[in-house]
Amino acid sequence: MFLIYSLTYLTSKNYPSSSQEYRVLRALYSSIAGAVLAITGCILQSSFRNPLVDHHILGIGSGALFFTYVTVLIYGYNPSMVTLIAALGGLTSLALTVLIAEKISGSDIAYVLAGISVTSLFSGLATFTMYYVQVKYPYASVLMTGSFILSREEQLPYTLIPLALVSIGYPLLSKRLNTLMLGDENATQLGVNPRLTRLLSAVIAGLSSSIIVSLFGLIGFIGLISPHIARFLVKTSDNRLVIPVSASIGMTLLYATDLFSRTVMAPMWGEVPAGSIVSLFGAPFFIALLISRFMGRRT
């Protein structure tokens, strides 16, 4: 509803002032980003059968960011080029994480460890290149923490691509992802190819989250916590239900965070990027999740 409202509002072109336009755009972008990241979190968690992952933890985020910077460095800020190369970069870093994790043991913790190493590699590289990029593109540092401060109208089509991707992915993947939870062997027995499903999930989730990162920067934990809250609320693991519910949770969380940052925080300390506020409550959640995983394992 909100999406439709704001889209019609924007296309009608009779808004009173540009600051109002900016506010609507910003609300729209933060909501779309929240929903997309939450859905990619769901898809990644179910396809890797691992409750500890999202686009950020698997290294997609920092990979996409690094390649965004590299593209800006070479071509300047060319939105379509940035989107394309960041998407490929995100997929590359995801592939790297999967390769390392499978080399270690393929366990859920192995994926977290491999993801952390790939993330540190690419965020190191990204930080390094950022200083050069800033000369060409002064807003580069904003992407580091994830913020909607730079919401512009020309970003709209690029924001709709990931939304379209996950919207196609939802009917296509939900039931298949449900069978994957029974284990690869049982999924095969039910007529689902687990490898193909995992590949398709990784491509859809990787592409859409990378594009979001190339536009608005690194926003961690939304993709991790939204599916968990959704599963807790609807008391099921059925992706047909979990995906839309976690999309609305991610949307609400990120919109609320951004609203908080620009209304409450801005007058006091200046605007704090939404991404860092999300980390503030997302990180403890992740720690709690890790602890409960290990406690559960001992019994």
Binding site: L182, T188, L190, G191, S237
Partner: protein
């Protein structure tokens, strides 16, 4: 009818030959038991029949070759092996697992009334209706075993392949399962593998004895009990023949 012609299965990376020269005819509407020691190829044989592995030779189910009719077979054949520990991760409930297990026969995106009814019918028959809304991670291993059996039954198959369905069940559970499989076999072709000769003799009419990937013996129960040296050779220990309720049973003799 399940006919197997010179089946050979090799596990690729290590090149281990798990099954060779298997030629069998398994009877319809009966419980067939595959017995044999660990690593004799029981699970591999079941998986090959279920079309879950690549193999040489041929397997025909109702005259159709398994590999070329895999889509059709997914609808009429169920394989239930080990559920593994991977299931509980995302808080799945029993009903989620059972509805998902109807994947090959379920139509459309949402669950239909038929899907839900079928799940309730099967769980009622297995006495697990009270567990439907519990999380998989909260179940005992015996309860989980029944859920695994239910997940194989919800798509209403004509052929049921069960890999060690009696593990994790207590004696009362085994006795119940034995009776239940016998009832099911009136309209279903069932093939199971087990280590428990007592359970097998109570439950199954037809036997296949495997040893190191080859068939040592295949035949009806009465013939097998008269030729118990095949079972003894497969396991390398002695068995005695005991009559229980008018039914001959093979009981292993532990070394003393």
């Amino acid at each position: 009818m399940i006919s197997i012609r010179s089946l050979r299965v090799v596990y690729k990376p290590q090149g281990i030959e798990a099954l060779r020269e298997i030629t069998l005819e398994l009877p319809v509407n009966n419980v067939t038991c595959i017995i044999g020691p660990n690593a004799s190829g029981k699970t591999t044989l079941l998986k090959a029949i279920a079309g879950m592995l690549s193999y040489e030779g041929a397997i025909y189910i109702d005259g159709r070759e398994v590999r070329s009719n895999i889509r059709y077979l997914r609808k009429i054949l169920s394989y239930a092996g080990n559920m593994g520990s991977s299931v509980d991760y995302l808080g799945a409930r029993v009903i989620d697992i059972l509805l998902t297990s109807r994947y090959p026969v379920a139509k459309g995106f949402s669950d239909t009334e038929e899907d839900v009814e079928e799940v309730h019918r099967v769980s009622k028959a297995l006495g697990i209706e009270h567990l439907l809304y519990r999380k998989i991670s909260e179940l005992s291993s015996g309860e989980l075993q029944k859920v695994v059996l239910a997940s194989a039954l919800v798509k209403n198959p004509r052929i049921l392949l069960l890999d060690e369905p009696d593990t994790h069940l207590d004696v009362a559970g085994k006795s119940w399962l034995s009776k239940y499989l016998e009832e099911l076999s009136r309209s279903l072709t069932i093939v199971i593998s087990t280590h428990d000769a007592v359970f097998a003799c109570h439950t199954c009419n037809y036997f296949v004895v495997l040893s190191s990937g080859r068939v040592l013996y295949s035949g009806w129960r009465e013939e097998l009990i008269q030729n118990k040296e095949y079972v003894e050779r497969a396991y390398g220990i002695s068995f005695i023949n005991v009559e229980v309720n008018g039914r001959p049973i093979l009981v292993p003799l532990y070394e003393s």
